[in-house]
Amino acid sequence: MTAVAAQSVRFIVESIARTAVDNEQEFGDLDAVVGDGDFGFSLARGFEKVLEDIDAYPTDDPGSFLQGVAMTISSRIGGTSGPIWGTAFLRAAMVAKGRDALTAQDAVEMLRASVAGIQARGKAELGDKTLLDALVPAIDELERAAADGGRSSEIIDRIAVATRSAAEATSSLQAMRGRASYSGARSIGSPDAGAIALAVIAERLALEWPKSPAVSE
């Protein structure tokens, strides 16, 4: 069971990593609207390294695997994203550590820990126009969908839809954190780069999910 869980986690991480690498330009351009344009470059350099190192991460346990990912991110991603994404993966890893299988409830727990970590690090509140404004609604939807029951592919489709709509909704917010915050009221009218990145990640994951080991199992 553990090996399969680790395989699923690896599948998800690979999907995220490829999304980051493939969307370097788009994510950078989003950050350029009111930020400083480095978001795509930072993410791509880090996840490129994750893909390179992925075979070296321990696979006996999803927690150890995720910790390996977190370490690569911390060592490679600069800017605000390094500490934010590194902390997110590390906190998720801590929750997963030693767990045999990972249920949807485990995923919720892991992601809530990520949110807590991100908030401890970056001090952002909901509504500050950061990736949290997409991440938290995504977790809420995951929790609801899991409670509603249903196949994993249905759950992930619902997450993708929820993340996208939450990410787009950040357009109406004024940035209070990160470089975008210096734009003040001018940040209103365009979505947060980090939030949109999460939506693109969730959509791609939903698309690829049928090929995941969790499904074929």
Partner: protein, 331 residues
């Protein structure tokens, strides 16, 4: 985009390699961490001083490594704070029994990377202190929750603590000096054009042919307002008003005045601005005791300039006047 570039991913490493090749006797380059350090650091006699920050602000901060200024700099990629590991590794390598002082411009990413590295280093038993620079008056502290930005005024903090460290001051003393200099330093910039990050390949923002960005950040972040281009004298008035009223500076003050080029503006224009600013200040009874005209903290190829005022006292002036040897030089 037209730049001298082989590959955007190699922009920072190639620049740092050039810097190292140009200063083989005084600098050591550690590519894994974008680390440029003084060959004679760490020293048991001297607190080490480390800056991080993103790249794209050269000469800040890698070209300020040398006797009397920084012991090391470990920049991140263009406009990105360095990864935590770069900072942590740098602190470990620079660890001196006298301690390590981290200088951080006040941005979210930089704060986080340095705070995490500080935690890790302290756990290793290294004596570390961190000092935040936030001299930019464009961003109102009360309005925005991340606080003021650190911009060109960080030069004065670096120079002052660098001189003091060279003279043997201890870590507490450096923190005192750095905070004191930061507290009397105010900056504000104006962009005439946007900058083009190598990895983006196009300008970071759009400025029409007659538009300027008042209070621009050194990463091309927007400032106070988008305005129409005005005569140099008017722009100087606008910037000086913001600086003078902020501290405030007042008649009888003796100041250092920096006219910093943002990368694409020729030095002829900076001297033109200097002359105007010098006279405006004199008319207000403020004496320019020291002047700094050139590029100190840039935003890649952005055309524009920032003005920085530092209120001088004897201690600060002596530290600024002390000799230093860094890669930026004419000879």
């Amino acid at each position: 985009m037209k730049k001298f570039l082989d590959d955007p991913k190699q922009f920072v490493p190639q620049m740092l390699e050039g810097l190292a090749l140009a200063n083989p006797d005084t600098l050591v380059y550690v590519p894994e961490y974008n680390l440029i350090q003084r060959a004679d650091s760490p020293s048991v006699d001297r607190v080490s001083i480390v800056q991080g920050s993103g790249s794209g602000h050269e000469p800040a901060h890698v070209m300020n490594v040398g006797k009397g200024m920084l012991s090391a700099a470990c920049p991140g990629d263009v406009f990105a704070a360095p990864p935590v590991d770069y900072v942590y590794e740098t602190v470990k390598r620079l660890a001196s029994p006298r301690g390590v002082l981290l200088l951080v411009n006040n941005y979210t990413g930089d704060r986080m990377a340095f705070e995490m590295a500080e935690e890790l280093s302290v756990a290793d038993g290294i004596n570390v202190r961190t000092l935040f620079v936030d001299d930019d008056v464009s961003v109102q502290d009360s309005l925005y929750t991340v606080g003021r930005r650190g911009v060109a005024g960080n030069f004065f903090v670096m120079k002052a603590v660098g001189a003091a460290a060279e003279a043997g001051a201890d870590l507490e003393e450096l923190v005192r000096i750095g905070e004191k200099v930061n507290a009397v330093t105010r900056s504000m910039g104006v962009a005439l054009t946007a900058c083009t990050p190598p990895s983006k390949g196009s300008p970071l923002f759009d400025l029409a042919g007659d538009e300027i960005e008042l209070g621009v950040g050194i990463h091309g972040e927007p400032g106070r307002e988008r305005a129409k281009i005005a005569p140099a004298s008017e722009l100087v008035d606008t910037l000086l008003d913001a600086l003078v009223t902020d501290l405030p500076f007042s008649s009888g003050d003796r100041v250092a005045l920096m006219v910093n080029g943002l990368g694409g503006t020729p030095i002829s224009e900076l001297y033109l601005l200097y002359g105007i600013a010098h006279k405006r200040l004199a008319a207000q009874g403020i004496t320019v005791g020291r002047n700094y005209i050139g590029e100190y903290c840039t935003s890649l190829d952005m055309a524009g300039a920032s003005l920085t005022l530092v209120r001088l006292d004897e201690e600060i002036e002596d530290l600024l006047a002390a000799p230093a040897e860094v890669p930026i030089r004419v000879f």
